[in-house]
């Protein structure tokens, strides 16, 4: 028979078993972390009607969308988890309790140009808090705590959550009489990390934006405000009273900074950063970015912010919200690339591999059933192979314990338990074997999926 070459599409991540377990462990930690903060899981379809999904239009994104006809239906694959959330909340408004806190971890699709580290199918992990009409700004203050808890649980240490408030920026540019140019200015200032201060200043005073040297200096002075959170807030207080929007933003930012300690976020993992603007059309208040201190070149690994109106394309209801998103597939790829994935993580598909050495499988099955009854993941290896091949299999799946059941063991009511890491082998009753394995697993399963080398001094 002629064969079809098996292949996976470029831009689609497909993992080998050990890596898949590592990825799933990350997803599991995200779920647990989001749940701990009272977010409810949501699962929306991958496919939506194109007019619903593209209600907002999309510019750049629109070209990337997987859009097709099925019969008479014009369909599209979702390209983020925000539009489906907006649809969901508008559609189910009367059934939901507000603030509505939901998380969703799911695949989204963008037909980007194929290149290393870019994915066309990728997981996003989103949380959002949606208010009905209003949403208290203390919700914004909780987000850094969730980011901190999540990344810490994954094993990351050297990261920084950077926070700003769009109202402070808008208010500041209004003070300068530059409201009309604010978007251009922010877009330019956003490049500071990449192109440096001199180039930003040149662009600001250049033909296109056309600020005076004095105005540019004023802006540079403003965005260079830094120091501890207290120092930043103190410097910002000097601008208070000149613009209402600015003052409102400063109040909100103060709420975020003030409650950090009670929320358990250490000062070193947090910074007020006036250079951050993000998603210029969408965010209206607090904005967040998260960077890896030892790899700033990766960019933000968790971003988001406050918006005024989630679902304006579907409903007249005013639905303000605050949320963050993690590009999980890209993060996983980058972490692997930079050597952050914990190679000592237990990625065995099973905890105990039973090798029956007799034709009668009865005792081996009884042992397996008993171990499983105690929550130990157990596999029976019953293929007709040489002992050495069986042990090669055990090595290959990296199983921590091999249990050998020969006639002698069966007659004595015991099994031979081999600890595959130490190489030690002991004969134990079934109960003792289960206890030994459980003790070993408790230790073995302590690792986090990420191992932060930068935190070696901890």
């Amino acid at each position: 028979m002629s064969k079809v070459q098996p292949r996976t599409l470029s831009g689609f991540m497909e993992l080998l078993p050990a890596r898949q377990i590592q990825f799933d462990t990350m997803v599991e930690i995200l779920r647990e972390s989001f749940s701990l903060y009272g977010f409810t899981p949501l699962d929306t379809p991958l496919i939506e009607a194109s007019d619903v999904l593209l209600a907002k239009g999309g510019g750049e994104t629109e070209k990337q969308i997987y859009r097709f006809m099925k019969g008479d239906s014009d369909l599209s694959l979702r390209f983020d988890l925000t539009v489906p959330l907006a649809k969901y909340v508008a559609l189910n408004y009367s059934h939901l309790a507000f603030p509505f806190r939901r998380f969703q971890i799911g695949k989204v699709y963008r037909g980007e140009r194929a290149q290393r580290g870019r994915f066309r199918e990728f997981y996003q992990a989103d949380i959002d808090i949606i208010g009905d009409g209003k949403l208290d700004s203390s919700n914004d203050a909780e987000i850094p705590a969730i980011i901190y808890r999540t990344f810490t649980a994954l094993g990351l240490r050297r990261f920084q959550i950077r926070v700003n408030n769009r109202k402070i920026l808008n208010g500041f540019y209004a003070m300068l009489g530059q409201t009309r140019k604010a978007t251009d200015i922010m877009r330019t200032v956003d490049k500071l990390d990449k192109i440096g201060e001199k180039s930003v200043r040149d662009l600001l005073t250049g033909e296109e934006i056309g600020l005076t040297e004095l105005e540019a200096a004023e802006i540079m002075k403003f965005i260079r405000i830094s120091g501890t959170n207290e120092q930043v807030l103190e410097s910002l207080e000097e601008y208070r009273g000149r613009n209402e929007v600015f003052d409102e933003g400063l109040n909100e930012l103060t709420v975020v900074a003030r409650n950090l300690k009670a929320f358990g976020v250490p000062a070193e993992n947090f910074a007020l950063d006036l250079t951050i603007a993000r998603g210029l059309d969408y965010y209206t208040g607090t904005v967040y970015e998260t960077t890896m201190l030892d790899h700033p070149e990766i960019g933000s690994i968790c971003s988001g912010g406050r918006y005024d109106n989630l679902a304006e394309y579907y409903t007249d209801k005013q639905l303000p919200g605050v949320g963050i998103s993690i590009g999980l597939t890209r993060l996983f790829f980058v972490l692997g690339d930079q050597g952050y994935l914990n190679e000592n993580l237990n990625t065995a598909p099973t905890d105990a591999l039973i090798l029956p050495m007799t034709d009668d499988l009865g005792p081996a099955i009884t042992l397996a059933t008993q171990l499983r009854g105690q929550g130990i993941r157990t596999q029976l290896y019953t293929e007709q192979k040489k002992f050495k091949q069986k042990m090669t299999y055990a090595d290959k799946i990296r199983v921590p314990y091999v249990l050998i059941l020969g006639e002698e063991e069966i007659s004595q009511g015991v099994c031979a338990v081999k600890d595959m890491r130490s190489g030690e082998q002991v004969k134990l009753s079934y109960e003792e074997a289960a206890a030994l394995i459980q003790t070993g697993l408790a230790q073995l399963n302590q690792g986090t999926p990420i191992q932060d080398k930068g935190a070696a001094q901890d």
Copy 2:
């Protein structure tokens, strides 16, 4: 602004929060159950190249496939999890250890005619054990144990795993000299439950199949073999020695039946059933169906079997396997329809809802952080609303505990804990509150997602 009507496509299940948590609980139990038997999780792309996905062709299924062009690429959405597995194993053959045991729980797509209870996007939950060249038949014997464990953990009681072996059927029809007509006969016999014995007999002796009355009687006698497992095997032994394939099938079926008890499957949840044939082109040995005893009209809720060659369209490697599949979305729908979903399951998105009654949120945040540190899912409710509205919110999300923090409580270093089920309210220290909640949750979270009314007498 003119609005787009928010809607979800017909045939796409989208659940409200409480139902979603119930669904997720089922998925979590499946993952845990499959893991317990040493299956490794896999996650393959939703989209594949059409020539890869349709290597086998597809007849009926092919028309239902979501197939489209993106640029120059001819793409299709997966319609099951078996073809992607075949591709994966062929592609990654040298990296895998065999037997390769994998589970996958994921969405698949079929553009079926829209009607109640039919889904175009639905979850399948599959497990498969793939051998390299050979696969011992003791693997077939383990499958009923996995089915039993899985459905029991979900809360189902009154179900029956029905097992047959295609070799027994093929061998039997060979004995009758009817190998050529075997497929037609099996297809007819498969209708026994639906159309009754008389109609089956008429079809067998009808123009199309054209058996004699004697042959039809012989077949009816054979498929009517029933009784305990021992009785069925005994009856089958009478046919032994007349056909090699039959004998092989009988040996395999005997292995499955003999080890049931050691595998922990009660006799009442299992039956040898010679009427089962299933997937006539694909399965070659053991076949499984699982039916709900009180709702046979639903049909099989978990089916599968043994096949000779998983990936013949991609590779010359012989890869025999055995597997089962659960159509999870349809099962969930049907269970809901029949009143099997446990309405007492704890589907609250959070365990504790904190209501701060002071402007300073510090103490409330400290309490929330402390509860979360102990694994209690906690939400801060900080909206400016009347107390009554806050309690309405608590009722609506069905949170089990509300914690009230007023000035008095803060000055005393306590919080008022209200058990929302009993209505009782007590003042406790933060530590005592955490302990109370954890004790309550241990009890509250015991329920299974399915509640089997048929098992009320248990």
